[in-house]
């Protein structure tokens, strides 16, 4: 994948560290989108450098802020604990060792909510504000989010990719978009697809239209990943 000048000049972010703040916000955003519900309880298992230097780097606040859909440039990140409290989200940070195969800046996020199966997501902050989701429940995945480059659509659908062509047709009808990449992963009896789009933000009614397509469980637009 070619670099953009704005992978270097950017992202605009809230300090103190691109790996520990911006990248962590992204992991939080992704986890929330994949879980597809406001969690009532979250446990963060911090690995490697995330475990060692969490507090001063504000990695903890950043992860939580991402779960609450804050942007990486939102000055409110520093108030994440207070915001979580207001939204009745319980959270806990624990140290762990996920083993040497993981990047030093890695976290396992366990999300829980009433009436929903518990979900485990492992994500790494791979530098410069970019993040990667490596595992969803027991399944290895490789979903990368590069800062400032694309809009991300997270699509959960049945066990077949045919439905994606319908999704793409709709997106083309919405206007000028370029689909820069598609990554699909099997999770139990369904699939999760991440589409990288170039173009404007999707409107909510467009996302809802996509969700009406037969075979689609949910669609989440992570347009806020941009900054």
């Amino acid at each position: 994948m070619a670099y953009s000048l704005f992978d270097i000049a950017g992202p605009i972010m809230i300090g103190p560290s691109s790996s520990h703040t911006a990248g962590a916000v992204k992991i939080g955003q992704f986890s929330r989108a994949i879980f597809d519900k406001t969690p009532s309880k979250i446990t963060f298992y911090m690995h490697g450098s995330f475990a060692n230097v969490t507090a001063g780097h504000a990695t903890d606040k950043a992860l939580l802020a991402g779960i609450m859909k804050l942007k990486t440039s939102d000055p409110n990140i520093k108030n994440a604990f207070k915001l979580a409290h207001q939204q009745h989200i319980k959270y806990e940070f624990k140290k762990t060792d996920l083993g040497p195969s993981y990047h030093p800046n890695t976290v396992k996020v366990v999300l829980e909510a009433q009436g929903k199966k518990k979900m485990e997501i492992i994500g790494s902050s791979i530098g410069g504000g970019s993040a990667k989701i490596c595992k969803i429940n027991d399944f290895d995945v490789d979903i990368k989010a590069v800062a400032g480059k694309y809009k991300y659509l997270v699509i959960s659908h049945g066990n077949d990719t045919a439905v994606l062509s319908d999704v793409m047709k709709h997106i083309t009808n919405f206007g000028k978009f370029r689909i820069a990449g598609i990554q699909s992963t099997h999770i139990n009896d369904h699939m999760l697809t991440v589409m990288n789009l170039e173009g404007r933000d999707l409107y909510l009614y467009e996302v809802l239209e996509l969700e009406k397509i037969h075979g689609i469980e949910f669609v989440r637009s992570l347009t806020r990943l941009e900054h």
């Binding site: 704005f6 000049a9 972010m13 103190p16 230097v53 000055p75 030093p104 410069g128």
Partner: protein
Amino acid sequence: MAGHHKKMKYQFKTSADLLKLAAKYKMPISEIAINYEIETFKKNRKEIIEKMARNLMIMREAVKKGVNTNKKSFTGMSGGNAKKMYQFYESRKQKLLNKTALVAMSYAMATGEMNAAMGRIVAFPTAGGAGTVPAGILSVAEGLRLSDNKIFAGLFTASAIGMIIAENATLAGAEGGCQAEVGSSAAMAAAGITEMRGGNSAQCLNAAALALKNMLGLTCDPLGGLVEVPCIKRNAVGVITAISASEMAMAGIETFVPFDEIVKAMKNIGNLMAAELKETALGGLAITPTGCKIRKKIGLPPIKSL
């Protein structure tokens, strides 16, 4: 993918490519960079300039806030030095460096201090090294009274240099040590400044090379693993490295080892560097008695100090 129909004209992965393109199209590096972005991402020029303009706005905001505040970070390790430096420059005290250099040092710390205090900055290329490029470019623009167009040229040139380093080595302290962060940003700033003041493409790359070469081997050993000490002041001296390298390049001094080879050396040194010295806060300054005090203060498990 992009480029199916037309052959791409402005693609570069090394400084050798970049120099060739600059010579072929008789353009400065910044223009090659803008054209690269246009053809690779199918953007128009206006969109690209606007995006950089937003970065510039945030950079100016961070610098301005930073030089005017005494606000300390959460740990108390940083805050207030940008202001001190700026007041020194404004004072009648004896100085050795000129206005541009002193203001550059102040600006570099301003961005770093804002970052440490959870303010808004542009990670350029990362948060740790984010002070150097805006400091060099904004102070030189002020010192030489250059327009915003020149500033954009400087920023695009700096970005192009950063891209070459990202492509062939790394910009992350956790992978390459601080040579990859403040080292890279010094190289980027050196090239940007040199173009702004009228240096040619070869001089820009000489400046980048001289700056980066001087930063090789720099470890990432921040106290408590936080982007504060030595990071913030390192950016202040980093921008002076960039300015000195630019002066040498303008004097006609050339790097003996080409830029691309220096980048390879940086990667090699990063690979050889012990994990303790790559952002883990387990070696060097991080484990001095002072470093261990900070560990304790922020609740990190105790380790044996030096």
